[in-house]
């Protein structure tokens, strides 16, 4: 016998709560995304490919993806280190610093964008420093990277922190008793335990960065083929009223986002299995 669609329950309000849920979901999420997919179907796969396969679009997509990957990797290392420091060490102002890690979630992206640009532009504090060293940060790919590191910063820390808190010190003691050096314990005992959570945070940071717009456009300089990110290209096409091209790039970004999520989910299942969770 197959499972019934809805198991009988004495709880009231299924119709009402499900009705509200499905109405809102349809109106806000499903219908709009459906409109994009419908537009894509109307435009045709061959035409979408023709739009995406131009040098400018391809460069923008590749730039967004490459810099997001790099930013998420940097945040992976930095996030684990930050989580470790926040859980294991004691120093003055620790609680304040802990609370401030979520700042990129709370600070609007446009505010972050103009603030980072001011700091890293040639006449800003850090930008000036970079100039004396002979490099430029704002209006180059380095600037985009900084903005993407900023928006993705809390994800890894916030997923890894609870896991570090739950590590039982006996495991580390056992490892030390068996003769492992501290670094070896960290590498062979602690890091594998953190890996699944760190990977989740990495995935969230990556997904956020690929589609990021507000904090990037101010600092990017937005030069075609050099510092033009994919979301900006959609905005440009929309301003030209070229809805077909905008939809084509939008669909390409959706495909990239979902492929990434799929790959990361598969990797995660394997990494959990390897260390014996699940």
């Amino acid at each position: 016998m197959t499972r019934p669609l809805l198991q009988r329950s004495p709880m009231p309000g299924f119709g009402l709560s499900m009705g509200i849920t499905l109405t809102m979901l349809s109106l806000v999420v499903i219908l709009p995304i459906g409109a994009l997919l419908f537009k894509g179907a109307e435009f045709g796969v061959a035409n979408i490919w023709q739009v995406v396969n131009s040098q400018r679009v391809w460069t923008a997509l590749f730039l967004s993806f490459r810099l997001s990957l790099l930013a998420a990797l940097i945040n992976l290392v930095f996030g684990v280190a930050l989580a470790w420091v926040l859980v294991r060490y004691d120093f003055p102002g620790k609680k304040l610093i802990d609370a401030s890690v979520d700042l990129p979630f709370a600070l609007p992206t446009a505010v972050a964008g103009i603030a980072l640009t001011t700091l890293y532009a040639p006449n800003g504090v850090f930008g000036h420093l970079a100039q004396t060293l002979g490099t430029k940060i704002a209006y180059t790919q380095w600037g985009i990277l900084i903005a993407l590191i900023f928006v993705g910063l809390p994800f890894v820390t916030r997923t890894v922190q609870p896991v570090i808190e739950e590590i039982e010190q006996e495991v580390e003691e056992a490892s030390a008793t068996l003769g492992a050096h501290r670094l070896m314990t960290l590498r062979r005992v602690i890091l594998p335990m953190l890996a699944p959570a760190a990977l989740t945070g990495f995935a969230l940071a990556l997904a956020r960065s690929v589609g990021e717009y507000g904090s990037v456009i101010f600092i990017a300089g937005n030069l075609p083929l050099k510092t033009e990110i994919a979301p900006l290209l959609i905005v440009i096409r929309l301003e030209e009223f070229d809805y077909n091209a905008a939809a084509a790039i939008g669909i390409a970004m959706l495909v990239i986002a979902f492929t990434m999520l799929l790959v990361i989910n598969i990797v995660q299942i394997f990494s959990r299995r390897r260390i014996g969770l699940v």
Partner: protein, 288 residues
Amino acid sequence: MSDISRVKPFRSPTDEAPLARWSLTIGVIALLCILLYAPLAVVFTEALAKGAGAALKSLTKSEASSAIRLTLTVAAVVLPLNAGFGVAAAWAITKFDFRGKAFLITLIDLPFSVSPVVAGLCLVLLFGANSTLGGWLVASGHPVIFALPGIILASLFVTFPFVARELIPVMIEQGRAEEEAALTLGAGGWRVFRTVTLPKIRWALLYGTLLCNARAMGEFGAVAVVSGKIRGQTATMPITIEMLYNEYLSVAAFTLAAVLALLALVTLTLKTALEWRYADQLAATHRH
């Protein structure tokens, strides 16, 4: 006795060497300073670059005040809708067993993996003047795109999962037993919700709404696509910040930015206070 003072201080085998510990701590804090605190500080120093008077004066200009009014209006519509949806979705998902539940949760989470600009694009394609539905709406005098409804829909899209995601884990953990007991004792559905469920989830609801508010007031990408950036009409605070910044009106742009930064700091403070005070009533993943 004198021998003891020469013994190296005991270091537990589960601690890192002091040198490693301090350099890691200082390194991490230095990076936070460069990446987080410096940008936050620069918002306020740039706003006050020409004195507090100039900053305050820029806020009283019609551009700034109408942007603040619009952003507050959007938040006032989005928050109750999002909270209502979040409670309804969490109730349906945690109090009943049905097929396709995992799929439903995936759909609710979907907006987190869609770029805000793509979200705006979707709304333009659905409601824009050159679509069938949009053309009809414009003809009947109720335009969605380049108008308030579009901004609200865009804000709803990007904040969609916030409240539901916070409530679902909390309500799964709390189970159904207390609600079932209330039902057995003869309480009606609404009464069960109001007197049994709501008191248990109110802090989680507030927490989710707080995050939703921060995002709704600060959303840029999705709103930029649908708003049309009409001064005094569809320019929210973040959009106005962009316009002022691009016109080199630095003080005005950063003053408006400082208002949003203050809002972010208030949000962080309230959020942290909730995490410390009501840790047991928030989603299991939040610690402290």
